[in-house]
Amino acid sequence: MRIVVPIKAVPDLVEEIDLAADETGIDREYLTFVISEWDAQALEEALLLKDAGGAEVVAVGLADDPDIDQLLYTALAKGADAAVKLTGAGAAGPSGPSGTRTADRAALLAAYLDAQPADLVITGVQAADDLDGQLPSRLAALLDLPHVSVVIGVEVGGGSATVRQEFAGGRSHELQVQMPAVIGVQSARQAPRYAPITRIRQAMNAGGLSELAVPARAAGDGLVVRRVHRPEASGKAEMMTGSAGEVAGQIVGLLRARGLVKG
């Protein structure tokens, strides 16, 4: 079984993020980039499937993503069997201040998956800059494959995958999907594993990262960022004063007033 895990580099949100001069994106020059947290969950879920029953896990990233080599080597250190960096004509796409558009990203990944099909494509359900989670659904549409998102667990058997999809309030339901399929992971069954730096360095020295040029492919319509806004302060913290008993009373009053506790 071949599982492809598309991963994406996003700015480390601990950084102080400034807007680009034209205000259509952020200034990416001095930022540190990390793996999108949902992609880290997707990779973990794929590795758990590998641990459980054997699968070939391939991490795929775009050469245009900053620090993508580091992220792909980390995936190898965690146990991915191969890591591929997509380059070539079209791979760059219209990489504006916000990086590759999700529509273009999906097109590039689809081109790769056309050439090297997978039994399962597992990726993050969303990303900090793709909060409506377009990537998995676009990818499924381009590949004409079934698609499930907001997934919190995948099991495989007999040509199909059983996935758990999460709803609000801790409810979930189980779906069966014919493989190949595209799955957008909300969270893996366990927290993403740690990749010791020694192993990442070993992966780098072993050079297990391959580059692949993929043909440009019509991206279709995507969103165009017109303007990015700075965060606006919408309220202030209320400071409570008084003795511990008085403060406790104020807190209880507030919680009651907002209907958060009964009685």
Binding site: D12, V14, E15, E16, Y30, T32, V34, A191, R193, Y194, A195, P196, I197, T198, R199, I200, R201
Partner: protein, 737 residues
């Protein structure tokens, strides 16, 4: 007049002698086989590189072993008893060697050469010999009885073998206790029969005049005589007791390599080969093993294998360990005993009554392929409980180095990714941004902004001192005030200092001790590169952990620095008069950070500062190199405390509360955090009012410069200080030590 000597093999038939020599030969062979098995086990270990350490201090260490300084340190009564047991045993052993030499060599050779038997075992030699053996033997006996009383009646905590963490299925260490009593009992029996034998001989000889030189043997003879024994009866009884004594002695010889008695040989080697610098700067992962931590016996060095056998279960480490004290499932003694039992089991060692028993095959009894040393033999929680405070190795009387072994085992856990979520997050933060807080590396020196004066970037301009600030002093908002205060003091004292700014990374001391070797190397490489770009004469650090890394860990990576702690710098500035202060008159206690006092022997500088500030220092019982860990070291600060019954920091605050002091002074940024939390907890529990304040020593210096009670809320501006300094000149009580 009778000749001044005593007959050897008195009244014994040749057949009896033959039996004796045969049994002696058998017991020697059994000894040899056991010793050989042990040696074979140690040879499974890899090289330890201890040659230089042994050569450098050979005579000093031999003297220390002979006088038993490591045993008597902090335990004078036990040390004295051990001293007499050690020398009583050596005298008895030497006496046997001398007699054997006289009987089996001198007499035999002289008969071959001259035709008649010569012997030196008579006259003055005999008298001196008898006197020394008789008195030392008695001291030996008294010491043994003392030890037996301590073990059997007084039963201090350290001699109780309860595990720090009990396995779910239960366990029994009764055999360990039986083994101890066998050792003590055998020695006692040998001594008691020896005196009985001497008494019987003296009585049988008719109390010759020279028997006064065996005062205790003669006392026994007089007692036997007083009980009505005749010389003839004594001669008969002597024959029986002789065999009892000889059998016990020969049994003891055979018993040595299979029991804790072996410590008398193993521990001499272990004490000669121990190397403190291997704890200050840890050894790397096993070379050529293909895995970063310990997984199998050949990963251990021979010294580490010898460490396991060196342990006499004295329990000093067990008693001082902050993890064990706090209720964590780690005791350094358990670690050593578990590893010993498992290695013995796996390598075919043979021991007598030296094993823990369990109904389930867990821990040291784990068997079969796929058993992990880190995780199965030693519980992962036990390994994660260590604060690497080094108190165990500090108090160990036999030179065991616990900490490096723990770190090697942690390296295996990290390699497998077995760790708690908070630690994993901290390591990921360190990998991404070079600090455990996960804050942007670019904001590391943000605290400087509120100083009101510029601090040079040592990468841009040459400075005298490079201040390596560290994570906590840079990022923790509660500690940034300390950092600003120190900057203000240094500026007022005219000290030329600079920073690495955003190029500084966590020094990696605790990353290394967590077992994340690759991350340590990465951080160290980044720091070394930044330091190479900077121009400075000397480094000082806020954090003792950073100090240890720069001083003791980086040299192995080819980077050696002249590095000091800020307390050393402050002490010097106060004593030279560069800092002018008015006495504070506080009654304070001072907590020695492990990495400052125990690791780097900086004990005086903070005390000199307190003296210069006119503070009265009241020492806690555990101070200086015997300080008690705050619980933060070795990466513990990044892990949760759910396994602890009582945090070490709370234990420490309770110790300080027994003194009548108002200030708990610290000299490590992490300590401010740890102990402020502990005081808050104590306050919540109603055990403390507001009288105990946790303060970094920097804040005391600042207060003394401004005048008592005038601690500014935030960073002190240099103008405040210089004004204050001007006011101080010729104005009132001014302290210039």
């Amino acid at each position: 007049m009778a000749e001044v000597t005593r007959p050897i093999f008195e009244g014994m038939e040749p057949a009896g002698k033959a039996v004796f020599y045969a049994v002696a030969a058998v017991s020697t062979v059994i000894f040899g086989w056991g010793a050989w098995r042990r040696a074979r086990k140690y040879r499974m270990g890899r090289a330890a590189g201890r040659g230089p350490a042994v050569r450098a201090a050979l005579s000093r260490r031999l003297r220390a072993i002979g006088t038993g300084t490591s045993v008597s340190r902090g335990n004078r009564a036990t040390g004295l008893a051990h001293f007499f047991i050690l020398w009583g045993f050596l005298v008895a052993f030497l006496a046997t060697v001398i007699l054997t030499f006289d009987t089996d060599v001198v007499r035999w050779i002289s008969r071959l050469i001259t035709g008649h038997e010569d012997s030196f075992f008579h006259g003055t030699f005999f008298i001196v010999f008898t006197f020394v053996v008789d008195t030392m033997g008695f001291a030996f006996l008294v010491a043994l009885v003392g030890m037996a009383v301590r073990r059997g009646v007084r039963r201090p905590l350290r001699l109780r073998y309860d595990r720090a963490g009990a396995p779910a299925g239960g366990y029994s260490r009764r055999r360990l206790v039986q083994g101890d009593w066998l050792f003590l009992g055998l020695l006692l029996a040998i001594l008691v029969t020896a005196y009985l034998l001497t008494g019987l001989r003296i009585l049988g000889q008719g109390m010759p005049w020279f028997s006064v030189f065996s005062p205790f043997g003669r006392t026994v003879a007089e007692a036997l005589s007083g009980l009505g024994m005749t010389p003839a009866q004594a001669v008969t009884a002597h024959g029986v007791v002789w065999w009892a004594h000889a059998s016990l002695a020969l049994a003891f010889v055979a018993y040595v390599p299979y029991s804790k008695a072996m410590h008398m040989l193993v521990d001499v080697v272990n004490l000669l080969a121990t190397d403190r610098s291997a704890i200050l700067g840890l050894p790397g992962p096993p070379p050529g093993a293909g895995h970063p931590g310990y997984r199998e016996i050949p990963d251990f060095t021979w010294k580490e294998l010898l460490d396991l056998d060196a342990c006499t279960k004295c329990g000093r480490c067990h008693e001082v360990c902050p993890a064990r004290t706090g209720g964590a499932p780690l005791s350094p003694r358990d670690l050593v005993l578990d590893l010993r039992q498992w290695v013995d089991k796996s390598a075919g060692g043979r021991t007598l009554l030296d094993r823990e028993r369990r109904p389930e095959r867990t821990g040291p009894l784990a068997a079969g392929g796929g058993v992990r040393i880190a995780g199965d033999v030693i519980d992962a929680d036990a390994l994660w409980s260590c604060t690497t405070c080094m108190h165990c190795a500090e108090v160990c009387p036999v030179g065991i180095e616990h900490v490096p072994t723990i770190v090697q085992l942690r390296r295996s856990l990290v390699d497998e990714g077995t760790m708690g979520p908070t630690l994993q997050q901290a390591l990921q933060n360190l990998a991404a941004q070079g600090n455990s807080f996960g804050r942007s590396a670019r904001t590391r020196a943000r605290w400087v902004r509120d100083l009101g004066f510029p601090v040079p970037d040592a990468r841009q301009q040459a400075v005298k001192y490079l201040w390596f600030v560290g994570d906590y002093a840079s990022f923790d908002e509660r500690l940034q005030d300390n950092s600003r205060a120190l900057a203000g003091i240094l500026r007022a004292a005219g000290v030329d200092f600079g920073l690495l700014y955003e190029a500084e990374r966590n020094a990696g001391n605790d990353v290394r001790r967590v077992g994340e070797e690759g991350l340590f190397e990465m951080l160290a490489e980044q720091n070394i590169k930044a330091l190479r770009q900077a121009r400075y004469e000397e480094i000082f650090t806020t954090d003792p952990h950073t100090l240890n890394a720069l001083r003791n860990e980086y040299p192995a990576l080819g980077a050696s620095y002249q590095v000091r702690h800020y307390t050393e710098l402050l002490a010097q500035l106060l004593e030279s008069g560069a800092i002018v202060v008015r006495p504070l008159g506080y009654r304070v206690t001072y907590h020695d950070p492990c990495y400052l006092a125990r690791y780097n022997n900086v004990v005086d500088a903070p005390r000199r500062i307190l003296k210069a500030l006119g503070c009265e220092l009241v020492e806690m019982p555990r101070h200086g190199v015997d300080s008690f860990c705050c619980g933060a070291g070795g990466g513990r600060i990044w892990m949760d405390d759910s396994l602890l019954r009582e945090r070490p920091s709370q234990n420490r605050i309770a110790e300080a509360l027994r003194l009548d002091v108002t200030q708990f002074v610290v000299a490590c940024p992490k300590d401010v955090t740890m102990f402020s939390d502990a005081v808050k907890t104590a306050r919540t529990d109603g055990r403390v009012d507001d009288r105990l304040a946790v303060r970094d020593i920097t804040m005391l210096v600042q207060e003394a410069m401004l005048g008592p009670g005038r601690a500014p809320a935030a960073g002190m501006s240099a103008d405040d200080l210089s004004v204050q300094e001007r006011n101080n000149v010729g104005a009132g009580p001014e302290m210039k030590p």
